[in-house]
């Protein structure tokens, strides 16, 4: 069992006083970010990323930096549940399904039960996903070591086609948003030839659009504009968790072991395939309702209805890191931001990471175990505190969040131009959200655009411009075919429905 040995080594790296302190800091920051409107996992990490530049330069600092940032991510995942259950406002898209049964429970005065169930099942989901990561990622990485440019391009193709195949948004809007991301990524200096592209003589555009600014604008400012429209008034249930409620709920939870297991499986699968946490949580809520003996009572405040989506969302959110560290292809927007972080710190994500940066990779994986334990402790003990944040009036907290977003955009490259771009992206984010243009593929395209392009160009060089190289070998051919099936899936399913309807 090489993995266990490597993991033990990872625990050695992660278990320093400094790293544990960072874990708790990260989780607490993450929960706050997850609770606040307009700040979520993706842009919370994006705002804090520039602050870790310095930290990552010190020896072993990259590991500490990723521990801090990934713990913010775990915290944000936990935080989403708090607002869903207490205020019926999903702090994050993946906690929408949690509101279905969580909020009714809170209205019945069982907020403590709902929160405990949500946190515990989040923990279980994440834990299963980390175990999957521990044992599956070395295998995937090893496998991927053989990859050449055509294979890598096929992986990218698969990732992006999967968005078209799995997203609820109209296919052409998904493609349009994705291509917009690729085009934005192409702005600036061409990585292969050094030619300036799409800059139109502007010096601001020499280095291109930074994905961090995109994320902060699209998710942060866009979200606040949307929230404003609803004329936001927070009216929430009271949150009290005491040891008794926790223990009582824990006694009840083992009953739902099958739901947990099913939801973890759905979550892990959806996280690795870039479907993401949001569809995973809905899917697993639906599955649980179908299979549960009292499925018809779902929506009226069943604990099981909280367990299912939370387990899946966390399993998906966590396993989204598997393709990120093994292939360099993130499964979710937040994973994309973390990936961007690795690149900025000078680490090349991908299979070589497992060979060249053992400390980093296994330290990160070990920190996932520890970070989730830290997360569970923090959320169970501090819920009233976090709920209190939501009682700060919107007209006070919103401008402060926007200022934080502005500072975050500025610090990326020390450019005021980026603050302006943030506002532009904010308007785009607002429009896109309302018109059902998906943001996740856009962000992923901005992050991965340069890599996807250079692997494509290298593949084309190998074959002298012959596209058939994407079918030249078994593996690459399989991935390309699968990608094409996913790309045309909306069309295929439409045709199937037509045939069946006749």
């Amino acid at each position: 069992m090489d993995e266990l040995q490597a993991l033990a080594h990872g625990f050695g790296v992660a278990l320093s006083l400094k790293n544990i302190a960072l874990m708790f800091t990260g989780v607490i920051l993450g929960v706050i970010i997850g609770v606040l409107p307009g700040l979520g996992g993706a842009n919370g990490v994006a705002i804090l990323l520039p602050l870790t530049f310095g930290m990552a330069q010190t020896p072993g600092g990259a590991t500490s930096a990723i521990i801090l940032l990934s713990c913010i991510y775990w915290g944000a995942l936990f935080g989403g549940a708090i607002t869903s259950i207490l205020f019926n406002i999903p702090g994050e898209p993946w906690s929408v399904a949690t509101t279905f049964d969580g909020y009714p429970l809170a209205q019945q005065g069982r907020a403590g039960t709902a929160l405990t169930a949500a946190f515990t099942s989040s923990f279980v989901g994440a834990f299963v996903a980390v175990i999957v990561i521990t044992f599956l990622s070395p295998v995937v990485a090893n496998f991927a070591l053989e990859f050449g440019p055509p294979e890598f391009f096929a992986v990218y193709l698969l990732t992006f086609c999967a968005f078209v195949g799995t997203s609820k948004e109209p296919a052409f809007k998904t493609i349009a948003a994705m291509m917009l991301g690729f085009a934005l990524a192409a702005v600036g200096t061409d990585t292969v030839t050094g030619t300036l592209r799409l800059t139109f003589g502007s010096t601001h555009l020499l280095t291109g659009f930074d994905f961090l600014v995109c994320v902060i604008g699209l998710f942060g400012i866009g979200e606040i504009l949307l929230t404003l429209e609803e004329g936001l008034a927070f009216r929430g249930a009271n949150a009290k968790i005491n040891v008794r409620v926790v223990l009582d709920t824990w006694k009840e939870l083992p009953r739902y072991w099958l739901t947990s297991l099913r939801s973890s499986a759905v979550g892990c699968f959806m996280g690795i395939v870039p479907g993401g946490a949001t569809p995973a949580s809905f899917m697993s809520y639906g599955v649980a309702r179908r299979f549960s003996p009292d499925g018809d009572k779902f929506g009226s405040g069943k604990v099981e209805g909280v367990v299912a989506p939370e387990t899946a969302a966390h399993a998906a959110g966590t396993s989204a890191l598997l393709p990120m560290i093994t292939l360099g292809v993130p499964g979710s927007p937040t994973a994309a931001v973390l990936l961007g972080g690795l690149m900025i710190w000078g680490l090349q994500p991908g299979p070589l990471l497992f060979v060249e940066q053992k400390d980093f990779v296994w330290g990160l994986i070990a920190s996932m175990y520890l970070g989730n334990i830290a997360g569970l402790i923090v959320v169970l003990t501090c819920v009233p505190l976090f709920a209190a944040i939501l009682r700060v009036p919107f007209s006070v907290i919103a401008p402060i969040i926007m200022v934080i977003c502005a500072i975050g955009s500025f610090t990326v490259k020390n450019a005021i131009f980026d603050v302006w771009m943030m506002v532009v992206f904010g308007v785009l984010g607002y429009l896109f959200k309302k018109l059902q243009y998906p943001l996740a593929p856009l962000v992923l395209a901005v992050v991965l655009g340069d890599n996807a392009e250079s692997s494509f160009r290298q593949a084309m060089l190998m074959s002298q411009g012959d596209l058939s190289i994407l079918f030249s070998k078994k593996l690459v051919g399989f991935m390309t075919t699968l990608a094409l099936i996913l790309l045309f899936w909306p069309l295929i399913s439409w045709a199937l429905a037509k045939v069946r309807g006749k």
Binding site: A176, I407, Y437, L461
Partner: protein, 169 residues
């Protein structure tokens, strides 16, 4: 119409869809134009020219934008729901315009002073708070941020005339 002025639709879905699709098309066209300038063909030894990849990206954007535009045109009238109500739009704009001014002000007076003004505006205008509360919150926040960023993380943020007057540069 029984709804009040505030609840009236400022824009309907169709016009919003059409506008965004048109924007996408224009953007795609810009990308294509520049790619053509750079050359999108094949070059001996070097392989694809710099415009190769963006050219097809731009092409796809234009194709998708056209399809989205046509689909929006074909939108059934009963599905043409309100995109944004007048009242909502006014709220969004009362935030968006100050935000744009805020972003512009950063260049002249630095991020600290403009942020404090921005928070103050927001609290006074939308929250209707007393002036002393407005002043207390906005100034305290910026002092805390100053300490966090300049002292703790040592990240210098843009400063303006006020900071140089106080000798904080």
């Amino acid at each position: 119409m029984t709804e009040g002025q505030e609840g009236r639709a400022a824009f309907r879905h169709k016009s919003a869809e059409l506008a965004v699709a048109a924007l996408f098309f224009i953007f795609g066209a810009i990308v294509i134009t520049d790619s053509v300038r750079l050359g999108f063909g094949w070059q001996e030894v070097h392989g694809p020219r710099p415009g190769y990849f963006p050219f097809y990206i731009g092409l796809l954007i234009c194709i998708c934008a056209t399809i989205n535009f046509v689909r929006a045109l074909l939108l059934a009238p009963d599905k043409n729901k309100t995109f944004v109500q007048v009242g909502q739009l006014r709220l969004v704009l009362t935030v968006l315009i100050p935000t744009a001014i805020y972003a512009a002000l950063v260049t002249w007076i630095g991020i600290y002073v403009s942020s404090a003004l921005f928070i103050a505006f927001f609290m006074r205008w939308l929250g209707k708070y007393d002036w002393w509360k407005v002043a207390a919150v906005s100034v305290t926040t910026m002092v805390v941020f100053y300490v966090i960023f300049e002292k703790w993380f040592q990240v210098p943020l843009p400063k303006g005339p006020l900071e140089s007057l106080l000798g904080l540069n």
